[in-house]
C-alpha cells in the first residue's frame, strides 16, 4: 500500500524577472517500509520534491497524498503538525539549538509534540543508543565532528518514531567511512520498517535502496530496482552535461 502518492506534480518559482519551472509532471508512489533513493544532477528538483512531500513547499499544480491525506487540504498549521507526527528529516548540515546539549537536541521533536521532559529524555537516550553515540550525551552538538553530528541528526530523526525518514544529502559533508556508517544506520531503520526517502549525488549508495529514481530537469527519467545504474539512464543523465 503506498504511503506517499504524487500525481502530476508541478512547481514553478516566480523570480523578479522570470519564472523557473523546477518540477514538471512528477508521478510517484512510495510503499510503506520502502527505501527510495533519488538522484540526479544539481538543480533537477530533488530537494524541491522532498520539501513538497514534507509540506514545507506548496505545489503549483498536482496532488500529494501522504498516509491517505491530501496535503492541499491542510493549512500551514495543520501541515506543521502533520510533519511533526509523520516525518523525520536529516540534512547535509545538521542544525542545532546551541543552548541545548546532545540529549536535549534529540528530545526536541518530542518537546514540540508536548511530551514531558522525563519521558522525552528517556526516548532520546534510546535513540542515542541506537546510533551508538551514548558517550556524547552531555556534549554540545557543535563540539562534535561532522560525522558524529550526522549520527546525532539521525538519532533526532528516529526519536519520535516517525514512519517516514527524509534524508537530503546526509553524507554530503562526510568522508567515505563516516558516510558508509551513516548509510548502515539508515539500513538498520529500513530493516525495522521505516520508510526512507534519500536524496544523494553519490551513486555508490544505490545498493542500499529498494527503489532508485533518476531525475533530470524537473522530471523523473527512470525508476529501477537493480543495484547498478542502467545504461540508458546513464546516457540520458550524461546527455547535455
Amino acid at each position: 500500500m503506498p504511503i506517499i502518492e504524487i500525481h502530476n506534480l508541478y512547481k514553478t518559482f516566480k523570480l523578479p524577472k522570470r519564472e523557473v519551472e523546477v518540477l514538471r509532471g512528477i508521478n510517484l508512489e512510495i510503499k510503506e517500509g520502502e527505501f527510495v533513493l533519488i538522484f540526479g544532477p544539481s538543480g533537477c528538483g530533488k530537494t524541491t520534491l522532498l520539501n513538497i512531500i514534507l509540506g514545507l513547499e506548496v505545489p503549483t499544480k498536482g496532488r500529494v497524498k501522504i498516509k491517505g491525506k491530501y496535503l492541499e487540504h491542510l493549512d500551514s498549521k495543520e501541515r506543521a503538525k502533520f510533519r511533526l507526527k509523520n516525518f523525520s528529516s536529516v540534512y547535509q548540515n545538521s542544525i542545532w539549538l546551541k543552548s541545548l546539549n546532545v540529549l536535549e537536541n534529540i528530545a526536541l521533536p518530542l518537546y514540540l509534540d508536548g511530551l514531558g521532559e522525563a519521558e522525552a529524555k528517556q526516548k532520546a537516550k534510546q535513540a542515542l543508543s541506537a546510533v551508538k553515540m551514548e558517550e556524547f550525551i552531555n556534549s554540545r552538538p557543535n563540539e562534535l565532528s561532522s560525522g558524529e553530528q550526522q549520527r546525532i541528526g539521525v538519532a533526532r530523526a528516529i526519536v519520535d518514531d516517525a514512519e517516514i525518514i527524509i534524508a537530503d544529502e546526509p553524507t554530503g559533508n562526510l568522508d567515505s567511512k563516516a558516510g558508509h556508517d551513516l548509510m548502515r544506520t539508515l539500513d538498520h531503520f529500513h530493516k525495522i520498517g521505516k520508510t526512507i526517502l534519500l536524496v544523494t549525488h553519490n551513486l555508490s549508495y544505490l545498493a542500499h535502496a529498494d527503489t532508485k529514481i533518476a531525475m533530470k530537469d524537473g522530471q523523473i527519467i527512470g525508476k529501477f530496482h537493480e543495484n547498478a545504474l542502467p545504461h540508458k539512464i546513464k546516457e540520458e543523465l550524461e546527455d547535455g552535461n
Binding site: L56, A80, R83, Y91, I95, P109
Partner: protein, 401 residues
C-alpha cells in the same frame, strides 16, 4: 557568546535607564506639584476668598463695608487684617517692621504656623486647662496687647528664641492716611510676646486689630471671607466685587498651577520619550540581531513541525523579558537616583538650617502605568522580529547552507 551577553546587558541597561528616568522625572514633577499645592490649600483655603480695595482712594474697607460683606447670605465669617508700618523696640535695639493688625478670627482662617507659644484665641482657654511647665505662663490680660513675632524678627532684635515668650516689648504703629490716619499717625504700645511664627526669612509682627483702631486706623487692608459652602465661592465673589472690592481666590492660582504643571509634565515626558526611543531602538536592534543569529534555529523548529505560535512567542517572550527586567532595573535605578538627590538636598538643608522636604512623589498609578507601558512597548518592539521569524523560510536557510 560574550558579545551576546554584553549586548543583552547593555540593552537591558538602556531600558532600565529609560524607565528609571521616566519615573524619576515624573516623580519630581508630582513632588513639586504636591509641595506647591499643599502650601496653597492649607487651612481650608479652597473655601475662602480674599478681598481688598480695588482703588483704596475710592473704596475703603470700613466697618460699614465689612458689615455688608458679613450680611451676604452665603458668607460664614469675615476676618480682617490691616497692614501697617511700625517699629519694635527691645532694650537698645529698634527694628522697623511691617505689622499686621488682625481680628481674632483671622487666625482660624489663615495658615500661620507657630514655632513657639500660642495664638491669642488659645489664651483664654489655656488659662483654664493644665499646662506643660516648660511653656511660660502668659497673663490672660496679655490678649489686650499682644505680639506674634516672626522667627527672623526675634533674631533681628537679638532676643533669645527660648525665653522670648512672655516678654513685654514696646512697639509703635504708624497709620497712613489711606487707612484713616491723619498724616501718618503714630502710637506707642507695650505688648506681651505670646508666640513666634515659623518664618526664618521675613521680619514682621502680628498684633490685635484693637491696636490699629486705637492708633486711628478706620479702614482695613484685607478681608478673608469664608464661604459656608465651597461651591458658593463664585456667587460670593460676584457680590463682593459688586461692593467695589477686588477679590482673589486660591483656586485661581491652583488652576494656573495645574496648567503650568501640565506643561511641565509634557516637557518632562519629552525628555523621558527621548530615553524611551533610544531604549526601543536598542531593544529592536538586539532582537533583530538575535533573530539573524538564530535564523537556523527558527528554521530547524519549522522543519521539525513547530507551530507558528511557538516560533512567534520565542521572540515575543524575549522582548517581554526585556520589558520586565528593564522595568525592575528602572525602579531600582529610580530609587538609587532619588536616594542620591535626597542625600544631597539633606546635606544642603542642614547647612542652611532649613527643614528637609521630600521633593519626590511617586503615586502607585505612576508605577502601574509605567509598568504597563513598558511591557506594551517591549511587546510592540518585539512584534516585528517575531513576525519576521514567522516569515523565515526554512528552505531558504537550507539553500543558503
Amino acid at each position: 557568546m560574550l558579545s551576546r551577553k554584553l549586548r543583552f546587558a547593555f540593552t537591558l541597561l538602556a531600558s532600565a535607564i529609560a524607565v528609571g528616568s521616566i519615573i524619576f522625572l515624573f516623580s519630581l514633577g508630582y513632588g513639586f506639584e504636591k509641595i506647591s499645592t499643599e502650601q496653597l490649600v492649607k487651612a481650608d483655603a479652597l473655601s475662602q476668598i480674599e478681598a481688598t480695595s480695588s482703588k483704596p482712594t475710592d473704596t475703603k474697607l470700613s466697618d460699614e463695608l465689612i458689615s455688608q460683606v458679613k450680611s451676604i447670605g452665603e458668607v460664614e465669617s469675615v476676618a480682617s487684617s490691616t497692614s501697617l508700618a511700625g517699629k519694635i523696640i527691645s532694650g537698645d535695639k529698634s527694628l522697623d517692621s511691617p505689622f499686621y493688625a488682625v481680628s481674632d478670627n483671622y487666625y482660624s482662617l489663615a495658615s500661620l504656623e507657630l514655632s513657639a507659644g500660642q495664638l491669642p484665641t488659645q489664651i483664654a482657654t489655656s488659662s483654664s486647662t493644665p499646662r506643660n511647665d516648660s511653656i511660660p505662663v502668659i497673663a490672660s490680660e496679655a490678649k489686650q496687647s499682644y505680639l506674634l513675632l516672626s522667627d527672623k524678627t526675634v533674631i533681628a532684635l537679638g532676643l533669645n528664641k527660648d525665653n522670648v515668650i512672655g516678654q513685654k516689648i514696646n512697639y509703635q504703629l504708624i497709620v497712613p492716611p489711606v487707612l484713616g490716619g491723619s498724616d501718618n499717625t503714630k502710637k506707642d504700645f507695650t505688648g506681651q510676646v505670646i508666640g513666634t511664627i515659623a518664618d526664618p526669612n521675613s521680619s514682621f509682627a502680628y498684633v490685635s486689630d484693637a491696636d490699629a483702631i486705637s492708633a486711628g486706623a478706620q479702614n482695613r487692608s484685607l478681608l478673608k471671607i469664608k464661604a459656608k459652602n465651597k461651591n458658593d465661592i463664585p456667587v460670593i465673589r460676584k457680590k463682593v466685587e459688586d461692593l467695589g472690592l477686588k477679590t482673589s481666590y486660591v483656586g485661581d492660582t491652583l488652576e494656573q498651577m495645574n496648567k503650568f504643571f501640565n506643561y511641565f509634565r509634557m516637557i518632562l515626558a519629552g525628555f523621558g520619550a527621548i530615553g524611551v526611543i533610544i531604549a526601543i531602538l536598542g531593544m529592536f536592534n538586539t532582537l533583530t540581531v538575535s533573530l539573524m543569529e538564530r535564523i537556523r534555529e527558527v528554521s530547524l523548529l519549522k522543519i521539525l513541525g513547530s507551530d507558528e505560535r511557538t516560533v512567534f512567542w520565542l521572540f515575543a517572550l524575549e522582548s517581554l523579558i526585556f520589558g520586565i527586567l528593564g522595568f525592575i532595573g528602572g525602579i531600582i535605578l529610580y530609587f538609587i537616583g532619588k536616594a542620591i538627590v535626597m542625600s544631597l538636598l539633606s546635606t544642603l538643608a542642614n547647612r542652611l538650617g532649613n527643614q528637609m522636604v521630600d521633593i519626590f512623589s511617586t503615586p502607585a498609578s505612576l508605577i502601574i502605568i509605567t509598568a504597563f507601558a513598558t511591557l506594551l512597548l517591549a511587546f510592540l518592539t518585539g512584534l516585528f522580529p517575531a513576525r519576521r521569524a514567522l516569515k523565515v523560510n526554512p528552505l531558504d536557510v537550507q539553500r543558503f547552507e
